[in-house]
């Protein structure tokens, strides 16, 4: 780790102002991606702006949405009666991110801003049609994610909360990497009225994506059988030592069927 300056923001406005002024700043949320990268000397921000005291934690139901503060930890989401009641699939997803240490430090805002192509939350945001609230504006999920490790956020923009419309049915199934336990394929399916969304993380060569062929088939009939015969092009998939592109393409189908089965169970 190289030396850096540590600053703690008391408000979002204060954090934005620091972000604009400070030399080579990075926002510190849970730090579970940033700090290991810094320890390995692969990242060397000159200033860290800690958001832990900026009042960004909390979960509440607002009308037909669940609104989660950006600094809310995965453990808080997993254990929240509000989330468990309204969107149990989201609570379950949060409860299977990383390990207990990660879940007690890692935050939803940090995960979403990092947009790791194998992270779980991006699939939930895409499938549930979530809206990302920032210090400047509101960004719908599909405009927010812009390819792996890339988002629509400006340099001086901070995520404040994420609003999830409550679906009628939803489920997330993850096929974990045997080593890292990140998603090799993670599929979030959500049904709200006649609208069905299928979002896939871990598999795509450009990060999280919606599987439109599956969405159309499921909109007609929300049943695992509807997905039989729907192929996923291997050309669009990631390949590594743990899973070839062909294998990932195959798994997208298997895991999507299992997710629909779980959502209808």
């Amino acid at each position: 780790m190289y030396p850096f300056k540590y600053q703690k923001a008391a408000t979002v406005r204060g954090a934005v102002s620091l972000l604009k002024k400070a030399e080579e700043p990075k926002l510190l949320a849970g730090g579970h991606t940033l700090l290991p990268t810094m320890k390995q000397r692969l990242a060397s921000p000159k200033t860290l702006i800690d958001l832990s005291a900026a009042g960004l934690s909390g979960i509440e139901q607002k009308g037909r949405s669940i609104v989660i503060g950006a600094m809310t930890t995965h453990a808080e989401v997993a254990n929240s009666p509000v989330v468990q009641q309204a969107i149990p699939a989201l609570a379950k997803l949060a409860g299977h991110i990383g390990d207990p240490q990660v879940r007690h430090r890692g935050t939803i805002g940090g995960s979403v801003a990092n947009n790791d192509p194998a992270a779980d939350y991006p699939a939930a945001l895409m499938a549930l049609g979530a809206v990302v609230h920032t210090s400047k504006r509101k960004i719908p999920a599909e405009e927010f994610f812009a390819g792996m490790f890339s988002t629509a956020l400006d340099e001086d923009e901070i995520i404040t909360k994420v609003a999830f419309p409550i679906p009628s049915k939803a489920a997330y199934v993850k096929f974990p990497n045997p080593a890292s336990r990140y998603a090799i394929v993670g599929v979030f399916v959500a049904k709200k009225g006649s609208n069905v969304r299928v979002a896939v993380t871990g598999a795509g060569s450009n990060g999280v994506f919606r599987h439109e062929a599956m969405e159309q088939a499921l909109a007609k009939r929300f049943n695992p059988k509807s997905l039989e015969g729907i192929a996923t092009p291997a050309a669009d998939m990631n390949g590594d030592i743990h899973a070839s592109a062909d294998y990932r393409a195959h798994l997208v189908g298997v895991i999507a069927r299992r997710a629909v089965a779980a959502a209808t169970a």
Binding site: P3, P178, A179, Y182, I241, H242, V254
Partner: protein
């Protein structure tokens, strides 16, 4: 006093210290004036070192010193050694290249040590290392064992043409060939035993320290055998004479073999401490461990089994290429030879065996002993062959094993070993009952209805442990004897200190060794302490590996206790005013035959020291005895593991649903600790079979250099184990112990793969059998099935 008997499943004495965070590991120790070492490592697998420019780095803040291979050469510090001489078929000695502690002229694997930076803080050392400019002339690399001997392959060491360290063989080639010619059936397998990275919870660490007043050095290091480390550092590397070098291995957090060896880093720390006049500390980070700890396994083997018309095995032959990595590590040469091919008879009466082994250099991390060391590789060859052969000739795999088991002991195999005792049918029968093999067909049909392919696999393994009779290993090329030493010090109040040359790094010696003393002297285990891991305290010892601490280390303690008992009887005779011949010792009490006169052990101990009751001309004061114990044979733990597994046809995910282990470890001191060793061993064996794949790119970059890509077994990956035991006491040591530390890791891989091949109906299942590998097999099978329709 409460005696804790041999055979009692008492909780481990040492665990209170460990689970309350009071252990003292090398990294917990800090010395006044301490500096921090950071190693600049090669980013290339193979390159000539043209120039190392230190000028900028040396001027960086906090830098105390920077050393390179030139400084090592100038100080005439020797290279690391390989302590076991192997001869090739033509009688020539193995061809080993030099193994400098800092690279000299060339780097040979990613992670090779180019320079050491010593600075006031670790950060400063890292900063300075970044400022070192190295001009590399990058060379092509060779990574795979199977490609190392090819014409035109890059040469790792000029001393070893065709990268071949030795081409060794064992057994009767002509007789084995004749057996294959006469065979009714021959089973052939191509086997890759995958390379593993040992992952002890505590990474390696060292602190070198120089005492200028006494011109003496101290090295704290993560070692399984501090005395051997001192011997090698002193006699071969030339760091200091033995009486001027103290090596301390304090609490050590796991080793699995990887901390037997003498590495460059600790050698540099102790050498540099004198050179720069300050204590030098180094602790590996996890990535350094992945890159530079000695790896395990990495064999490529063609193996064949000859069977006659009666289903009797008549011959086994194997040709193995063993990857040694870029340098020969401390015991590397012995692993694919005497620790491997001598076990190719398994539990079977095989009259003819012939095995050839080529050891090759590659541009990868050095490979050496890792939990089981050669014996997992042998067991995998034998048990895969036996299972496959039974299927091919249409015999039940258990019945085929029974037909070929050795039943008379001692049994001389064609590959050196004389098995002293065992009852292989007993462990197989018990395991089959515990595993409900009879009900397997029903379970398989039920699984099929859930879309799961269920398979059952056996592994009836044998290992040679209790390493080992010095004369025997000496005749096979070992550079050291493999006895063990012990000293028993009885204090005047009757408490006991055991000084042992064994080293505990997770095995529970503080408890098991105390149980032996408790049951022999009739004192509480709380009144026994175990002293180990310090060359200034313990006279000498060979350390802990090869499941030897029970069979060899405790036997030495037992012999020393014999002497204590004999001397204490003499003292008791004076105290009780009786003839020595009339003294009995039982349950911690000395009594005079035919009387009610008695005295307890503590009183005798006190009298040994106050010496009021006897004439020092007749009997020396004090109560302290030592013993060096050299075993008469290896021990031969054996048993039967049965794995039942289900494969998800859609995803290729394998899940072990049932594991039965029945082991014969001879007499058992603490069944709870033994069961724990079995559990851990199985976990590591399952890791090898299903999860742990070490992947290098063709140009020698380690892809699996962190837990992001190297899959360690987790509780989630393992079932609840059913563990049973059979006992045939070992006749080769006074306690009847065989050893249990490696059994699980030796037995497990073959059991898993035999279960998977049973489930999938093909013998071609690789290790690690990852979901991708298994899905690929299933996808290929379903494509072939569709094409056939």
């Amino acid at each position: 006093m409460t005696v804790t008997a041999i055979g009692a499943a008492v909780r481990r004495k040492e665990d209170h210290r460990f689970i309350t965070g009071k252990g003292q590991y090398t990294d917990d120790i800090n010395r006044p004036g301490q500096t921090h070492a950071y190693f600049l490592r090669s980013p290339h697998a193979h390159a000539n070192l043209k120039k190392i420019d230190l000028s900028k780095a040396k001027a960086m803040p906090g830098v105390v010193a920077i050393y390179t291979g030139d400084d090592v050469a100038a100080d005439k510090i020797g290279g690391l050694i390989c302590g076991w001489m192997i001869h090739s078929k033509d009688g020539t000695p193995m061809r080993a290249g030099p193994h400098p502690i800092l690279a000299q002229g060339k780097v040979r694997y990613v992670g090779d040590h180019v320079a050491v930076v010593i600075a006031e803080t670790l950060s400063q050392a890292k900063d300075a290392a970044e400022a070192i400019v190295v001009d590399y002339d990058v060379l092509p690399a060779v990574v795979e064992a199977g490609k190392a001997q090819a014409k035109g392959a890059p040469q790792v060491h000029t001393e070893a043409p065709a990268n071949t360290v030795y081409d060794w063989h064992i057994g009767d080639k002509a007789a084995t060939e004749a057996a294959f010619k006469a065979a009714k059936h021959v089973t052939k397998l191509d086997i890759v035993n995958n390379r593993l990275v040992p992952n002890a919870m505590e990474p390696r660490a060292a602190i070198g320290e120089y005492d200028a007043g006494n011109d003496a050095l101290t090295l704290h290091t993560t070692s399984q055998n501090p005395h051997v480390a001192r011997l090698v550092l002193s006699a071969f590397i030339g760091i200091a004479p033995e009486h001027k070098l103290r090596v301390i291995a304090p609490d050590v957090g796991g080793g699995f073999g990887s901390k037997i060896f003498i590495y460059a880093e600790e050698t540099v720390c102790v050498w540099a401490a004198r050179k720069c006049g300050r204590p030098v500390k180094w602790t590996a980070d996890r990535t350094e461990e992945f890159l530079c700890v000695a790896h395990g396994r990495d064999h490529v083997t063609r193996a064949e089994l000859a069977i006659d018309a009666d289903g009797k095995i008549t011959g086994l032959r194997a040709k193995t290429i063993a990857n040694m990595g870029a340098y020969l590590s401390t015991f590397a040469s012995s692993v694919p030879t005497y620790l491997y091919a001598t076990l190719l008879s398994g539990q079977y009466a095989i009259p003819n065996i012939y095995c050839e082994v080529d050891a090759v250099y590659t541009n990868t991390a050095p490979v050496d002993a890792y939990r089981g060391a050669g014996r997992p590789e042998a067991t995998f060859v034998v048990e895969r062959l036996v299972e496959t052969a039974a299927r091919e000739i249409g015999m039940d795999p258990a019945a085929f094993r029974r037909r070929n088991f050795i039943t008379k002991f001692p049994h001389q195999t064609p590959v050196i070993m004389t098995y002293d005792c065992g009852d292989y049918k007993a462990s197989l029968t018990k395991a089959m009952e515990m595993a409900d093999v009879k009900g397997f067909g029903k379970r398989r049909r039920e699984a099929a209805r859930r879309g799961k392919l269920r398979g059952l696999g056996y592994s009836t393994y044998i290992e040679a442990c209790g390493i080992a009779p010095s004369q025997a290993v000496g005749s096979l090329g070992a550079g050291v004897g493999l006895w063990e030493s012990a000293e028993v010090r009885v204090n005047p109040v009757g408490t006991v200190e055991i000084l042992t040359g064994s080293h505990s790094h997770g095995q529970g010696h503080e408890t098991t060794f105390a149980q032996l003393v408790s049951s022999r002297l009739g004192i509480s285990i709380d009144n026994v302490s175990i002293v180990h891991g310090d060359t200034d305290k313990v006279q000498f010892g060979m350390g802990t590996y090869g499941s030897r601490s029970g069979a060899v280390g405790m036997s030495a303690i037992s012999k020393a206790l014999d002497k204590i008992e004999a001397k204490a009887k003499k003292v008791a005779a004076h105290v009780l005013e009786a003839a020595e011949a009339d003294i009995d010792f039982k349950d911690g009490k000395f009594t005079v035959k035919g009387t009610d006169k008695a005295v307890d052990f503590g009183t005798v101990a006190l009298n040994a020291y106050i010496a009021h009751k006897f004439n020092p001309q007749e009997l020396e004061p004090g109560l302290k005895e030592g013993s060096f114990y050299d075993p008469t044979n290896f021990t031969f733990p054996a048993g039967c593991h049965i794995c039942e597994i289900e494969v998800d046809q859609e995803t290729g995910v394998a899940r072990i649903v049932k594991w039965t282990a029945v082991d014969d470890f001879g007499n058992v001191i603490n069944p709870m600790i033994v069961e724990g060793q079995v559990h851990g061993g199985i976990a590591q064996g399952v890791g090898q079979a299903l999860l742990e794949g070490t992947v290098y790119t063709a140009d020698g970059q380690l892809v699996t250099a962190s837990y992001m890509d190297y899959a360690m077994p987790r509780a989630h990956d393992l079932p609840s184990f059913e563990v049973g035991m059979t006992v045939t006491p070992c006749p080769s040591n006074p306690l009847g112990i065989k050893g249990c530390g490696e059994a699980g890791a030796i037995a497990a891989p073959a059991a898993v793969i035999n279960a998977l091949t049973d489930a999938l109906g093909t013998e071609d299942v690789p290790m690690p059998a990852t979901p991708l590998a298994l899905w690929s097999i299933i996808a290929k099978q379903s494509k072939a099935a569709i094409a056939a329709e």
